[in-house]
Amino acid sequence: MGYPHPIHPKETPVLSTHFGDVEARSYAGWVARGGYAALRMALEMTPEAIVDQVKASGLRGRGGAGFPTGMKWSFMPKEDGRPHYLCCNADESEPGTFKDREILRWTPHALIEGCAIGALAIRAETTYIFIRGEYTEPYHILQAAVDEAYAAGALGANAFGSGKRIEMIVHRGAGAYICGEETALMNAIEGRRGNPRIKPPFPAVSGLFGQPTTINNVETLAAVPHILVRGAAWYAGLSLSSPKSTGTKLISVCGHVQRPGTYEITMGLSMQELIFDICGGMRPGRTLKAVIPGGSSVPIMTPDEVMDCATDYEGIAAKGSLLGSGGMIVMDDTTDMVYQIMRLARFYAHESCAQCTNCREGTAWTTRILERILRGEGKASDLDLLLDLADNMTGKTICVLSDSCATQVVSGIKKFRGEFDAYLSGAKAPALAEV
């Protein structure tokens, strides 16, 4: 198949089996590939039974935090007489992350089916899929699939004649990274400014429109039909390293590798195999310098840390970083780390929602200091200042956007201090022009 390159033997295609297969986008095509069998099963099951299956599978949130999905679902109240909501977080905006996009583009019905099952599990009648505004092509594909699913009776007031109501609304974002934060996402759906909310109350108590709500990532929900059809034990068995990390994970690899793209691996595959075998390694004559393994919000890893790292929640955490969203940014020896960290800080400064003082002012100030260093105007005290600002930006705000910015600065200075010093001492020529 043409998608974008053939499946590598070290990949484990589950979610990505039909990537590149245009016919899988249609309702009929999806059913022909075994689709909607899981939803028909779920319609016969009790919510508790679905939750138990997902708990047993060990599925954890694929959006970044890695919270056990079944557990999250079980926090939803039972028989409380209030409407419940499921929100699917398709606001994939983290720099370096583009794995949900492939699900939305190629297998939209997998997501719709996953959402429908998730809604049944948490006793919700309505699902909102919040899709990143810039995802124009995926949006049109997803919306067409939702329309088809309604027409086919899979969704609606009487899903597959079961008497159960499953409504699904695709809501487009308007271009703010912060709306991928789950409480900001709910605010955005409600038509408010997309600012994160203070927790508690947690969404399971008071979420969308003040009602009990669960928010799940696209990849998490898309995995659920497979768990129901093939069994929790099968899914839990997909684990090469830590038994706490089960199933498969889509990893979107970008940067200085020969074959960037979205790959699906079994949890725990070594990061070295992922980068050097599946992605074809560095370009000729280049060597690995750094990897940001889980989207731009997690600490930077050095080649030493990459070489014996298992790509799962525990493996990467053991190396001081996080699996995060699975958006992997690979950088080779031509990379200017100071510049890259400045670019990320600039991103966070641009995207800060402006609520919390530390984030609003801290991300912008951090960016200015990094720009100053890159202009060759840095001061000897700048690194200490950056680290102190990072401390003032960590663990002190409503959401973790400011922590994410600080993480890059702290891990960057810790692991690549020499590059900063080269600018500060004048050993390296300024990389930014005067402003």
Binding site: A176, R193, I198, A349, H350, E351, S352, C353, A354, Q355, C356, T357, N358, R360, E361, G362, T363, A364, W365, R368, R372, K379, L385, L389, D391, N392, G395, K396, T397, I398
Partner: protein, 518 residues
């Protein structure tokens, strides 16, 4: 009481508060101030300024004191090294884009940013020589300017308009450090209560055009008072500079006006500074007024009262104190008396989301007192009765031309005046009295709450409080009578307030009757 109480230790001080109380409020009870900007007790808390982060023992992170309810047994540190460092960091972040224009800023001296930076900020800036964020000053409404450069984005103003006035015309515009307070381009900040955003603003970002560059905060004397504008009875602070009233601001009273006052009340202070005041007692002689000393004037007043054999009419303004109303009534006791208070009517303007808080249609602050003290006869009938009355007593009331003509036609007129009224011709007696900012007294609001006001500026010339004029004349009418020596005594001697003193009312008042709401 069934409220469940929980006990915590804050800065080493044990304190017991109802379950659900936030740390910041619990700390207040313990006498510990947690520095804060976005938190305000009359607004929902967004926990965005991050100033009130405090340390709870055994908690992994600092928590915002404004939204975190206390849990029994917690040990909370407001001034631990971690909490102090966090606040220091926030203050530094707030200052990097804050212009240091305190010398020309109205807020200086009462600025929470100044206060907390002085208290625990860093001595020097680490920001360096970057230009600060610049946005032009914006005209938000009739009395409000937005100085964006000073804004720390606490969003109190946005939340006030959203949740209290329920007219959401303000927002946070833009993101990151480009953010500022935006206003709906088709709107102006002219809600009848919008002036409160100036008081809510912890810095000098929202300023009153009326007060702009008028006085420095440290030159002001502040006096607790009651708004004389309507029957709501909002608690206010009268700010004077060199004995001139320069500003009226709300004073907290959770039972009456929470932390707010309406724009009408806020703006209505110019009459307090009038320069054309009556300063000397005058008696009519051969068609002219002649200045006399108080004893002569009081003797004349007592004689006029004693000689009044026919109907007597008493016409008073809505700003008269209960003491004055009561003692004029006492003075005229036993006469065929028609007593009425003039109650101007204006549009009612509720604040929005707070029940029972509005600029009231009845623009007479002491209507409640008038009703309690039987000075609440029909105004039109009372004015009509003036022409044929044997004695008309007028107390500080603005008459229209027709009313003035009726009063002027009366044979004997005693005018207890703050300002002389030429339309009344030559009154028999013209006695200078103080206004409510020059005397101590009590108003009773529409809910029957008796509330004190205190003197904020000296009385002009020989002016006396009207109650004192009445009481001294009353004492002359019979042997053995002694006039009360103080306003508080004058208050306690009146039947509806029997046995009470001003002190009993405290600074937030006390309900003395089930309510005279109309």
């Amino acid at each position: 009481m069934t409220t469940e109480m929980v006990s915590v230790t804050i800065e080493g001080l044990p304190v017991s508060v109802p379950k659900g109380t936030s740390i910041i409020e619990a700390a207040k009870r313990a006498g510990v101030m947690v520095p804060h900007y976005c938190y305000h007790p009359s607004l929902p808390s967004p926990a965005v300024c991050r100033m009130c982060l405090v340390e709870i023992e055994k908690f992994p992170k600092l928590v915002p004191a404004c939204v975190t309810p206390i849990v029994d047994g917690q040990v909370i540190h407001v001034h631990s090294p971690a909490a102090r460092k966090a606040r220091e960091g926030v203050l530094e972040f707030l200052l990097i884009n804050h212009p240091l224009d305190c010398p020309v800023c109205d807020q200086a001296g009462e600025c929470e940013l100044q206060d907390f930076v002085f208290q625990e900020g860093q001595a020097a800036s680490r920001y360096g020589d970057y230009p600060k964020r610049y946005n032009p000053v914006e005209d938000f409404g009739p009395d409000i300017l937005y100085v964006a450069n000073r804004c720390i984005l606490c969003t109190r103003c946005v939340r006030f308009m959203d949740h209290v006035t329920e007219t959401p015309v303000l927002n946070v515009s833009e993101r990151g450090d480009r953010a500022y307070i935006g206003i709906d381009p088709s709107a102006v900040l002219d809600h009848p209560w919008s002036g409160n955003v100036v008081d809510l603003c912890p810095v000098g970002s929202l300023v009153s055009k009326d007060f702009l560059h008028k006085a420095r905060a440290w030159d002001l004397d502040k006096t607790a008072s009651i708004c004389p504008g309507c029957t709501q009875g909002c608690n206010i602070m009268v700010d004077t500079r060199d004995d001139m009233v320069v500003r009226l601001r709300p004073r907290a009273n959770l039972e009456v006006n929470r932390h707010f006052v309406c724009d009408t009340g806020r703006a209505d202070y110019r009459w307090m500074n009038r320069g054309d005041r009556c300063e000397t007692p005058m008696v009519a002689e051969a068609g002219k007024l002649r200045a006399v000393e108080w004893p002569d004037a009081l003797r004349r007043l007592a004689d006029l009262v004693a000689a009044a054999s026919g109907p007597v009419v008493m016409l008073v303004g809505g700003r008269a104190s209960s003491e004055s109303l009561g003692w004029l009534r006492t003075l005229l006791d036993g006469r065929a008396l028609t007593a009425a208070m003039k109650v101007p009517i204006g549009p009612e303007a509720p604040i929005g989301a707070i029940p029972n808080l509005a600029l009231r249609a009845e623009r007479a602050a002491n209507l409640g007192g008038a009703e309690l003290l039987s000075v609440s006869g029909d105004w039109t009938l009372a004015v009509a009765a003036a022409a044929s009355a044997s004695l008309v007593v007028v107390l500080d009331v603005e008459l229209d031309n027709a009313e003035a003509a009726q009063v002027a036609s009366a044979g004997t007129v005693v005018h207890l005046a703050t300002v002389a009224d030429p339309r009344l011709g030559v009154p028999t007696l013209l006695l200078p009295v103080t206004t409510m900012v020059e005397e101590q007294g009590v108003y009773v609001n529409r809910d029957g709450r008796a509330q004190r006001f205190l003197p904020a500026r000296p009385a002009p010339g020989m002016a006396w409080p009207a109650w004192r004029v009445a009481a001294e004349a009353w004492a002359l009418l019979a042997d053995g009578r002694e006039a009360p020596a103080t306003a508080s005594e004058a208050f306690g001697a009146l039947a509806p307030f029997a046995g009470m003193s001003h002190r009993d009312l405290g600074l937030t008042g006390r309900v003395v009757t089930a309510g005279v709401a109309r």
